[in-house]
Subunit: 330 residues, 2 copies
């Protein structure tokens, strides 16, 4: 008999809890070494681009929802099912891709309510029907009582994928919709910006894109090239009414919520500096009359005051923290 | 405020635990309705075939390993990482496909041991390197303390996929390797039969294939066409030494373990009735001199004695139950 090897430890110094999400991801990346190609073929963008002998480019993303983390009992099971699909579709939107097919993995305790699960799958089906997405496979696995998690691996196709790494110094920064306070409802009732992302992938002005899931403060950093900063026009940041409402509850500035709240599921994009911005904005307005697209800043060479600075004054903007999914308390 | 909706229930009549894996899968299939295409494009085979505008056919499968269900502390973390990859590769093998790329989802409690996780990923990397498989993306999610699950969504490519549904009455049934007693070690130390599956997909005699994960008794039923039975030569079933060893512990016949134990990860195939079996077997022997391929029976019209019968006597074979992953006790 070989000695037993337990996966869990009581020693806080050895627990994964002491690492933040970013450090843990970096660690896993190092452990995997050469079997993980660099982005865009591997980790590091909204989706990974797969090389097949096909005219259309194929991309893949995966995202889970876990009870107690991404969903709770304030959501109906239908809304939870929709959220699983929409979260993943938002990653496709950020590449300018359209959905193709997906596989769904369900992990659940034996005490899951069949009626709850049926309503959950009604939500999954409804969201898939809307976006012509097929579920082509899945897997069931058992957890202890009181646990539920569902994850999707989603394939999409695109002609001109919009990568994060294509942004350059000089590019204008734009954001769709409004930001902040998603915890008051948008985190599950958002519409993934698929049509908008596909439209943007056809505009030559648009060079790079990301969807806002962890907050502008964190996701914008993922779009900025090395040795650059973002000069932001704070008066232009499109605040969601929910950001104001939530600010009244927390006592923090609404602007801070626009930077730091996760799950906006809006698109953040870089538009090349030599673009005719007015013409670009007019074309957007005509294509999507009901959704705002706002210029919020510009990518500039690395600024001594920090990664985010105010466009006029050069004063540092402090809200560089986003939402860390892999966060523990205690 | 809308009323809270809890996913879990104390009422046994409403819990998913009262359904077996097969019934629950069928239920989910019904709930999803038209967004799940029939096999081979959707659920119901080892992989789903995806339609891209590509010369090679692309297929996808997904499978999870969960602590306490597929792995426990008797496995080293390295072995657990290898098992996650090999389980999924076995599904590709059953289509005759070769691995392309995968995404990995990790769900874990905060108390997971970093050293354990590093060794787990060493196992993942080692198995991926052996089979030229790239991990191109992933997701992290938080569970409560003491929980660990990892799932893979795996893409493969094949020229002539071997489907389950292509088997016909008259076909000979063959199985690779030996069966039974995998709980004594093979369940994590097996080699996925990728080279063998790819070779078989190039042999015109071979019409249909499945990998044995839930036991011959259950998986053979998935290969049989409607209104057919399997006439088995029980003296030919290739018993693993572990089946004999395990039988000595359980007091059951070794043959029962060959039918009912899960996780053999061997290939079960249907060879068309007009084949020159001797020539086919000789070609196999020359391609894979170290691995047996055994003719164990034939698909016959539905037999009054049952789904499995003895070839000579027509006596019923009782071991039609396989392993049900989604199984609860209590």
């Amino acid at each position: 008999m070989k000695p037993e090897q337990h996966p869990f430890t009581d020693d806080p110094a050895r627990q994964i809890a002491r690492l933040g999400e970013c450090v843990l991801l970096e660690q896993i990346h190092n452990w995997l070494g050469s079997i993980t190609p660099p982005a865009p073929a591997g980790m590091g963008d909204d989706c990974a681009l797969l090389e097949f002998d096909s005219a259309q480019k194929t991309c893949i993303t995966t995202d889970a929802i876990t009870y107690g983390q991404h969903i709770d009992s304030s959501l109906t099971p239908f809304e939870a099912g929709v959220k699983l699909i929409h979260r993943n579709l938002s990653d496709l939107a950020a590449m300018g891709a359209s959905p193709h097919s997906a596989v769904l993995t369900l992990l659940s305790g034996p005490d899951l309510d069949l009626q709850w699960l049926e309503a959950f799958f009604n939500g999954v089906r409804s969201a898939c029907e809307t976006h012509a997405l097929k579920i082509v496979g899945g897997d069931l696995s058992t957890l202890e009582a009181g646990h539920f998690s569902a994850s999707l691996a989603l394939l999409g196709q695109c002609e001109r994928p919009l990568l994060r790494q294509s942004a350059s110094v000089g590019d204008w920064l734009y954001v769709s919709g409004t930001l902040g306070g998603s915890i008051l409802g948008k985190h599950y009732s958002f519409n993934p910006r698929l049509a908008e992302g596909q439209w943007l992938s056809r505009q030559s002005e648009c060079r790079a894109m990301i969807d806002l899931t962890d907050g502008l403060g964190k996701d914008l950093q993922a779009l900025l090239p090395q040795d650059s900063s973002a000069a932001m026009d704070l008066t232009c940041i499109p605040l969601a009414p929910a950001a104001q409402e939530y600010a009244a509850q927390t006592g923090k500035p609404a602007l801070q919520h626009a930077f730091s709240d996760g799950e906006d599921y809006e698109l953040l994009l870089a538009v090349s500096s030599d673009s005719d911005c007015e013409a670009f904005e007019a074309r957007w307005q005509s294509a999507f009359p009901k959704l705002s697209l706002t210029r919020i800043g510009q990518i500039v060479p690395k600024h001594p005051a920090g990664i985010f600075v105010e466009a006029g004054s050069g004063a540092s903007i402090p809200w560089t923290d986003g939402y860390q999914h892999w966060k523990y308390h205690g």
